[in-house]
Symmetry: C2
DNA sequence: ACACCCATGTAACGGGTTACATGATTCA
DNA sequence: TGAATCATGTAACCCGTTACATGGGTGT
């Protein structure tokens, strides 16, 4: 996920300084993407301001550096929504969290859009399992060098593969679970409206 | 994981051309790191050859480009082993696969080294769970913009958090499982030796 | 006293992505 | 005939990392 997009998404909740964003990125946001450095943040914010996606107000302070409080502009909101609603292609590695990045901003989508996202991720993973689960994993014809213990190669390969397989199964189970949950919450809401 | 290291690791099994590596990276290796582009591969191989980590033999062909078959050098093996045996620090996001990268080459380590790796990953994850599982996840005081449906924010945040929590629990279970398995396989091997 | 937090940045470097370049062979 | 595979690469760009720069306030 691009840093720019994440910043825009964040600014939909509240105006922030670069330093504030960094704090968020280091805690909650730390599960979404690798560590983000302040230097990169400031550079990115500068560019985004130049492009008109964000504006900032300067809060002057005597000795310490002035505060720059960034706010999202209508243009920035449009850029963000364009991303959020752009066609979703699951990434090969579910660990990349492509779905998660969108889900994090699901409060800006309607429930059907959210369900579509999750369903297409689910379909992709199921297909991936069908394709890769039982494929041949022997490491081509080997001519191992002295430092490889040849007997152990398939042993560890198998461990890793089992771990990967069970993780993705678990993930698929989660996807199925949240689809059900969102669907049933939807129905509840509709009923609540009907009986009003 | 740096591409250089992965290349060195691969070449411990068998000499390969750049194109061969690409094929492996696109299939088996595709689960270990994001997609690798040929242009990057060739650039990296060039640098590695200059540094003396790999050598190549040219197999000339009439019309098509000549084949360059890369082999790891003793220097390259040393660089690789230095990495493999360097102190292991788990990465904040288990999805980054820092452990996996080492485990993939576990056939070049002894069982104790492998167990140490897994145990330190396990300890790190358990601590991480203790720290983050029940922390406050409310998105600071919000001043949401028009496009955010404020009611839904905590709903989706909770979904995501539950998914993350259960994934890491699952991962921890896997870690505990393989430790047990490797330990018991170790004992079996020792017994087999004793009764010889 | 010392370390850490606050708050801003610039510059150089490194690695991954995209675009460009070439051209034969194999398969549907 | 057209698409995919084989097989090599260079150049420009973008984004992320590391190092450098400044300096007051807060907590132990």
């Amino acid at each position: 996920m691009k840093l720019e997009i994440l910043i825009l998404g964040l600014l939909n909740f509240k105006p922030l300084t670069g330093y504030d964003m960094k704090k968020w990125l280091d805690t909650e946001g730390r599960f979404m993407r690798p560590q983000t450095h302040l230097s990169q943040l400031y550079r990115t914010l500068k560019k985004m301001a130049e492009e008109g996606w964000v504006t900032f107000e300067v809060e002057e302070r005597d000795v310490q550096p002035d505060l720059k409080i960034y706010t999202i502009t209508p243009v920035g909101q449009q850029v963000f929504l364009n991303w959020l609603q752009s066609p979703f292609t699951p990434s090969f590695r579910y660990q990349d969290g492509a779905l998660l990045h969108r889900l994090f901003f699901a409060s800006m989508l309607n429930s059907d859009q959210v369900l579509d996202l999750i369903r297409s991720e689910l379909a992709y993973r199921k297909e991936q399992i069908a394709t890769y689960r039982h494929r041949d994993r022997t490491i081509y014809e080997m001519q191992p060098t002295n430092i490889v213990d040849e007997d152990k190669v398939p042993y560890y390969l198998e461990l890793i593969h089992e771990g990967g397989a069970s993780s993705i199964d678990h993930y698929v189970g989660w996807l199925e679970g949240i689809i059900e949950r969102i669907e049933s919450d939807l129905v509840d809401t509709e009923n609540a409206v009907e009986t009003t």
